[in-house]
Symmetry: C2
Subunit: 434 residues, 2 copies
């Protein structure tokens, strides 16, 4: 299950679909490159570098798994707030790689800092500052427990730095987003912008997806870049709030990969004002745009879930607490029986009842009202009086299915997103390593 | 996905496999019958009755789902300790059936008690007592939310009572166990016996299985019968202890169907002694036999899991607590990525690492030692020095795969059982209702 990126970018059918992607723009202060270290043995891009010659403010939300990759462990080693570069590799997760994995990272960081420092000293507008290893962070995605391919990556670093570009059009963003794919079938990109005074504030986001049946058993990576100057603490608050109902709405709490990472970088090219806080109007506008961008990326991940044919939204309303709404929504969304019913286009709402019950959350089943799309299927503790199997079977043929559970117990709500569960999921995952 | 039971019992290939089943014997004081109410429209047995003319002591462990079937709700309505009969129907779960489901059960109980009372009054050795509706309990398994087929069942009650047999050989036990199957491909039966003084204490158990990917999203029913006299309180203690490492070792806590039920019945034909307690030797012998029988049935359920091709044992040892061992074991056993790797015969131990991590339990990854069968695959925070992919690929071809996770943190351990995850699971569940 390797993606031939060259083919993707050269494939006319796919490229004719370029219109489906948003038009990402250049972020001042960011340089990017994506090349092949031949980790897959087929020449596809697998190594990506994001470089900020003037540094970037930075915030991240990482996996909460009790076992983490050497890369995440590296990133955590100092509480970085200002960084110079992020390097992403695919194929190998650098998890459970022991001393070899850690030492590989040390060596790569050392080499990368040296090569970047030379580049700086040569560049016209460069700062001529030394790029220190501690200014660099990493992300990895791929197989766990295999030796980290240190030599291949180290040998590719000169090329990776050489290819850094300050100008990035839509196609280049797609190339970079494609360079970090694993089982994804297409790159995930999103763009938002807002006008602040005379300035154009841009937010560009890219992501790679994950195996979708239990959403985050495979690695999810997303990197977001903005030219607006926002300090790291504020970035952290904004990112956490945005992730809660987007990336974490396709993610069961505490049920994540060893490598999950969503990060945001501010190149500080555009000043938004002094002493910004969450209450400032300009920050609230930014927050709104960021949430929209994150939801867009999160939904693209679900749509491209392994083997996915249908997009499924599960909305739980009128719960007695947010935590209760969340538990019930994920209990339904993670049920293989619900997901296979959706794949089979079967309006088997009994499985939704089972999903609610197994959440363990107390509900009053006589109050429950369950809808599939606009159709009420169950209320008052029984099948709806206007239940219409024929209409429902028609509805289940749609590409996007909505389940709504009205608990009638309170005022809290939560919405989460998943996909159906098909033969292709088995095919992809029974043979992932080969 | 209906099973034609007649075909099963007439099929020579299958019947030639009769030897794979244990030789269940007659339980004095128990009468059984299994007939067709034509709930599936193909004449298979779907209605089963267990009748105790002299009553039976009784204990049960039911689902902990927050939504339960009308049948379980009926059984809970009084804390029954002595019962006269248990009726089991398949095809319809009688869950979320509202007033219709509840009233159906009232009507069926009334009719059944009347017919059984008439039978009593006519029988020679009968007690001539009235069989009260509150002496009856029920179990249902099948689709949720569909109207309960009250008429078909009611009309079949005379036949069901008429066909009650006091003598039951192995074949008859298989017929009865088959009468409560849904997507099971074969009946599940188990037998244990022990000599107490001059008496033969017998324990007969039957079960029906469940969709196996998240073990208890579909209904699991098991009924156990013994001729030994054990009071209901002691039965309850024994059953709870036995279930913990057997039926609940294929079951994630709080993640059950609306209808799950494991019950034990004592016909009191053989006296074991007065004032029995868990500390009595004879009770301990009984407990040992009961656990063995429950493990046997639980493993048969896994082996016959929907679409299952391989049996998977996940053992977590040297944990700091039982609860931690349990969480980690189930986190691995419920991982679709682990289950698809097993289906693909891929020794992808990285997914075991992921399963451990996502449990959220704190582990010291440098202490971890992971084995596939007898092969150490990972220790000291990295792949094993003696890792041999070729040998492991050979091992993964086996029908029964063992995963052992040694945490080296304490002295607690837990073992659970599951199966692999195949295309057939999708086929069965995408089209279950049809």
């Amino acid at each position: 299950m390797t993606i031939n990126l060259k083919n993707f970018l050269n494939d006319k059918t796919k490229m004719s679909k370029m219109g489906e992607f948003q038009n990402l723009k250049q972020i001042e202060g960011l340089e990017m490159s994506s090349v092949s270290a031949d980790l897959y043995g087929n020449g596809r891009d697998d190594l990506t570098l994001f470089y900020f010659s003037k540094g970037a403010n930075y915030a991240t939300v990482n996996t909460t798994s009790s076992i983490i990759s050497e890369t995440i462990s590296w990133n955590n080693s100092s509480h970085k707030k200002l960084i110079k570069g992020l390097m992403v590799n695919t194929k190998n997760a650098n998890t459970f790689t022991g001393k070899q994995g850690k030492e590989s990272l040390d060596l790569i960081a050392k080499n990368l800092s040296r090569i970047l420092t030379i580049k700086e000293s040569k560049s016209e507008g460069g700062t001529s500052e030394t790029v220190r290893t501690k200014d660099l962070i990493f992300a990895s995605t791929g197989v766990i427990g295999e030796q980290f391919p240190v030599d291949k990556i180290k040998d590719t670093l000169p090329d990776l730095v050489e290819k850094l570009k300050t100008e990035h059009n839509k196609l280049f963003w797609l190339k970079v987003a494609s360079g970090m794919m694993t089982t994804d079938t297409k790159p995930k990109v999103a763009y938002e912008e807002l006008i602040v005074g005379d300035e154009l504030v841009k937010i560009c986001g890219i992501a790679k997806g994950s195996g979708m049946i239990a959403p985050n058993l495979a690695t999810m990576l997303s990197f977001i870049f903005t030219n607006a100057e926002i300090n790291s603490n504020l970035l952290k608050s904004l990112l956490k709030k945005a992730v809660a109902n987007t990336f974490n709405a396709i993610t069961v709490d505490g049920d994540q990969s060893t490598n999950d990472m969503v990060s945001i970088f501010s190149t500080k090219a555009i000043k938004l004002g002094p002493n910004l806080s969450l209450n400032d109007k300009v920050v609230q506008k930014f927050e709104f745009a960021l949430k929209k961008l994150c939801l867009n990326l999160a939904q693209q991940i679900v749509v491209d879930g392994e083997g996915a044919k249908k997009f499924l939204t599960v909305k739980v309303i009128n719960a007695k607490s947010l935590s209760s709404a969340k538990k019930i929504a994920f209990s339904i969304a993670n049920s293989p029986l619900v997901k296979t019913a959706v794949a089979g286009e079967d309006p088997n709402w009994g499985r939704i009842i089972m999903g609610i019950g197994k959440s363990g959350e107390m509900v009053d089943y006589k109050k429950l009202k369950i809808k599939l799309g606009d159709f009420i299927v169950a209320e008052n503790g029984k099948i709806s009086d206007i239940y219409d199997e024929i209409k429902l079977k028609e509805y289940m043929k749609w590409d996007s299915i909505n389940i709504e559970v009205n608990l009638k117990l309170g005022n809290d709500a939560f919405e989460c997103y998943t996909c159906d569960f098909t033969h292709d999921y088995i095919d992809i995952n029974a043979d992932y390593r080969n």
